[in-house]
């Protein structure tokens, strides 16, 4: 058992739990933040995609012991600025992307990170870039996701 402190969606949080418990379960089961979803637990489906220090990652595959106290973890709940949605969330609404919605928090967090990565690398947010996103949507909303990412990128 160890004490772990980090920043989650702008708030300092502290939990007492074994070092090897993966961060996803700390966030969901101990801190009650349920936006990131379980879909595989092995970093394949990407339904839990969140951000660590602004970059996309999958907390199902990171032990809480690997998180340091100055790390800032952002889940879908922390993406909007209060009631003002992030441009990618707005694009998702505009394109009516979601069906069941289970994978969509991860899809949006992945999309935001991918667009930032493209911008930093001076690449276009085109079909090739979008096809690097591995998140699974079993409802098959991929085509609207592609439209939304391109639209959201324009406002980022």
């Amino acid at each position: 058992m160890g004490t772990h402190t980090f920043t989650l969606n702008g708030e300092r949080v502290t939990v007492d739990v074994e070092d090897d418990v993966r961060l996803l379960w700390v966030i969901r089961d101990m801190l009650g933040v349920t936006g990131p979803k379980y879909g595989c637990g092995i970093n394949v489906c990407k339904a839990c995609t969140s951000h660590i220090n602004g970059k996309a990652f999958n907390p199902c595959s990171v032990p809480v012991g690997a998180i340091s106290s100055d790390d800032e973890v952002t889940t879908i709940e922390g993406l909007a600025d209060g009631e003002k949605l992030h441009p990618m969330q707005e694009a998702w609404l505009d394109r009516d992307v979601a069906q069941c919605g289970y994978c969509q928090p991860g899809q949006i967090m992945a999309a935001v990170a991918k667009v930032r990565q493209c911008q930093e690398e001076g690449r276009d947010v085109d079909d090739d870039a979008i096809e690097e996103i591995r998140n699974i949507c079993r409802c098959g909303t991929y085509n609207r996701i592609r439209e939304a990412i391109k639209a959201g990128a324009e406002n980022m």
Partner: protein, 778 residues
Amino acid sequence: MAHHRLASPPKETGLNRSVGRRKFLGYLIAAPTLVVAAELAREQVFGASEAFATIPSPPQTPEVYDLLDALRDAMRPTANLIRIEINKDGTVSFALPRSDNGQGIITSTQMIIAEEMDLDVDQVRVTLADARPELLFNQITGGSSTTFTTYTPIRVAAALAQGRLLEAGAQLLAQDVRTVTSRKGLILGAGGKSIPFSALAEKAATSTTQQVEVTLKARESFTVIGKAQNKTDARDIVTGRKVFATDLQIPDALPTVICRAPDLNGTPGSVKNLDDVRSMPGVTDVELVPTGVAVRARTFGQAIDAVNALKVSWKKGTVAGENDDSVLKRVKAAELPMAVPAGVGKTIDRSFTFYWASSSSLETNCCIADVRKDRAELWGPMKNPIAAQGDVAKICGLPVGAVTMHVTQGGGSFGRKLFYDAALEAAECSKAFGKPVKLMWSRADDSRQGRVHPLSTGRVRAQFNGDSVVSYEQRHTSVATQVNPGLGEPVSAAAVKAPLGNLTLSESIFELTQVTPYEFGVSTRFLNEVDLRFNTTSMRNIYSPNVATAREVMVDQLADAMGKDPYEFRRGFLKNDRLRGVLDAVAKEGRWGRSMKSGTAQGLGVHTEYKGVCAALVEIDCRPDTVNRPIREGVTGPRVTKVTFAVDIGLVINPRGLEAQMMGGINDAIALILTSSLHLDDGHFVEASWDNYFYTRQWNTPPELNIVIVESDAPEPGGAGEFGLAATCGAIANAYARATGTVPEYFPINHKDPFPFEPKPTVPPIPESPTNGLDFTY
């Protein structure tokens, strides 16, 4: 573009009379505020299809009475219990006795009520009803039936409420009821006076339940129905606020995971290290349950670690030692013979194998249960909560009335959640522990032990002579699809009333859903099912995607043998103009016959079901550079580069929702034909996660997708949830055959390729979570 209805309108109303002006009976329910209810008080028997040239096939059952009719007939006696309430705060609320797993039926139901009551869509509150045993068979979400079965009763109730509010408002305003109108929750009178619904909720109520006649809004006055509406839970979804079953915070309902056998349906014998595992970090309880060894812990991660630490001796499963080939042999032995002998005149024979498909959704099987001595309460995404309630009551030794089933919104279903395996297990676990549990299946269990779409074969024989197809025979032989309890009761109850009567259950569904939409002379379609040892379910339909693939490939083969273009051939042989309408739409929009590079091709598919017709035109790229493009831990293969899809599903409630359902079906079809299947090996399914089971990903989805909703003058909505697959499956298979010159004999086409992955072990049952997640940030 002119479109003919497949079904004749109700005889008593005449050809062009709108269903909207007919009288319906509703009920005012005795209550403190206005409560209205409705029943279906009508019979609508669909007429036979119109006859066309060529050698006509006699009408097949789905053309006169299909599964949607059966489901609606099954619920007629109880539909009067659909109630709308006008609350003191002026809101209008309705608890929909259905399950929404992303198909958008909450939104479309809000639209239907808003339309009839002149409200804005967001002024209507729709929730999912708890299990209501008094509804008998009227709480099943399956067969793409929701909108078709609930459209009219909901309208009747809403229209009645609207009428009562107008009357009460007119009285209060001391004006003639014919001069008052309603808008956005206000009753508007002459001279700019208005009264909100909130002021009328009690005034419009009744102290005695009474039957009232009501007229529905005419279709030409619709302002909400038929307009694109975004999903009303979209904001909750994109902000992470939408709550699924495992997101619920029920006191003391701790994470619970079951350790399962290596064999499919294996059961636990003894456990060597129960006490050791009970003392692992975070673990609170470990007990044997019928399907394995259940672990309850502070976090799911700790429960999974404990599951993997268990040393269990397992009993054999239901298909111990078997594999794809041994099951296929059994299925082939059950194939029914053709009536026309082979080799008589010009005959073409084709046979296909369709391998197992996983119906695992992103949300794995899950349920929260709190079982006490005198009562039980469960929360889960259930499409058949009444049947679940009955079975949970049996497990708990409680009367049905002591069991409360809360239906949560589900994270995808595609048919699987017609069954409620997780609810039964959650009840078993909570009973065994004497504590509340939040039960969730691991992905590996969901993939390997969860329900599957069964392995099947399709055989087709057609005989042609000159420009005519003289006979067309199709045989579908399958590992049995379990339809009970999901669809079983209502269908079996209603199917005996269908024209053919007395069919066995599966034969009934096959007969009620499958139709050959071509004039192919003598046409027969038979189903045989064998082997009940698997956990099966429909998956965005039971038979259609496979039956349609076999049929549409055969249609292309016939066209080729008879020297015709696949489009012209279909146009000539399709049974009616409605079918030709969607075919023409995709041919025009998708530029059928345009010049394509070698190794790429177009393909067509047509299907009719759910009171609708649809067609797909697919373009595929099978060139080596495309097939072999590198994607880490993914399957690439041929790329569907463009899909044009046209659908006429009758009255469209929400075109944006309909388009979404077709898009989902199209992406499913790509997986079924090209990339994804389960493999049975040594008594278990090999695939344990999404890096083994290759459902469509961004790199497989078509860069160009065009969905055309063909205008329809049909008076009612049909079914959409499963409708996108069948035609698309056929079109992809045909495009592939035309691009490569090879007609596939099995689907998906990659099923016999070497595994592009190392199979995961079955003991321990759950792959360990990696620890290197921070190496993959971007």
